[in-house]
Symmetry: C2
Subunit: 181 residues, 2 copies
């Protein structure tokens, strides 16, 4: 549907067929007719931060597709062997070169249309000097009034920013469980 189908078995290289396995499963999977390997495909996690410096938040102007030139929060795919927080901190370092102290979880957002879950943490910046990586054209601080709402790359980022500012105005942060339809 939203990913290229599996054509060959990762174990033996034979052409796979899509069918419901015989083990009580109810979904079609790519099954290898030669070695019986069942290939599961599951949602991916995107982990990131809302880095803040006083009353400003850090946004990154994307130097990659999709949404080249649009503004985003530092975030990317979670890797094996790391925690959600470690992944969020790594992406913040890679994309913005920002030194942060991780704070609480802010949003857990399911995006079923693309098979993803996005998790954002609040992060206190320890400096307002940044060293963005190759995926970022520019890393810059914005006050709430300065946020380029029409130039935000993704709806997950817009919702996370809106929830951050709403919680900040309310004087209390909490964790928001959100579905992006």
């Amino acid at each position: 549907m939203f990913r290229s189908p599996i054509k060959h078995c990762r174990n033996c290289g034979s052409a796979v067929t899509y069918r419901v396995p015989d083990d009580g499963d109810t979904r079609e999977r790519a099954v290898c007719p030669a070695c019986d390997t069942i290939h599961y495909e599951n949602p991916l996690n995107v982990v990131g931060t809302v880095p803040y410096w006083g009353d400003k938040v850090l946004l990154c102007k994307r130097n990659i597709e999709p949404r080249w030139g649009k503004w985003t929060l530092p975030a990317g795919f979670m890797e094996l062997g790391e925690t959600t927080e470690q992944g969020a901190a790594r992406e913040t370092d890679e994309e913005a070169g920002a030194k942060i102290e991780m704070e609480g979880l802010l949003t857990v957002m399911s995006v079923p249309r693309v098979g993803q879950v996005h998790l954002y943490y609040r992060a206190r910046l320890q400096s307002d000097v940044f060293d963005p990586g190759h995926e970022t054209i520019e890393a810059r601080l914005f006050s709430q009034e300065e946020i380029p709402w029409e130039e935000i790359a993704f709806r997950t980022v817009r919702e996370t920013l809106e929830l951050y500012f709403a919680d900040r105005a309310a004087g209390r942060f909490s964790v928001h469980n959100v579905v992006i339809v």
Copy 2:
């Protein structure tokens, strides 16, 4: 490390080699020398519920490995096309045949050793009659005092139960971000 390595390309079936791709990546990936497909492997989400009926919670006795015969909360791998909550509700139906009304997110637990993130929701049972599936020997309600703590299948389940009872005693539920080392 904790998953069987990719041997063949999912796109063309050629034998892959593990190396750092030339696109600015910093990690070794399975790369196809024939069609250049890069194969990413990322953490999996496990989604489940803490189903409660009055002061009791529902546990399922596992009819599958690992931890056959041990007690667990209903949970399983999140599927493509669903939200975390939909996945948690589906697993609760599949494993316990329990009718529930979903409530708030309770735990977000990284388990980096196995490349997983576990998310548990509180869920109000709408009946105390259950219809467990083939993965479950028995589905049964336990008060806090009756919980078989030494027979709980996974540390994620034990931590989630402990946090549930602690929040309940405090009279206020919140979302807990946990790392299982």
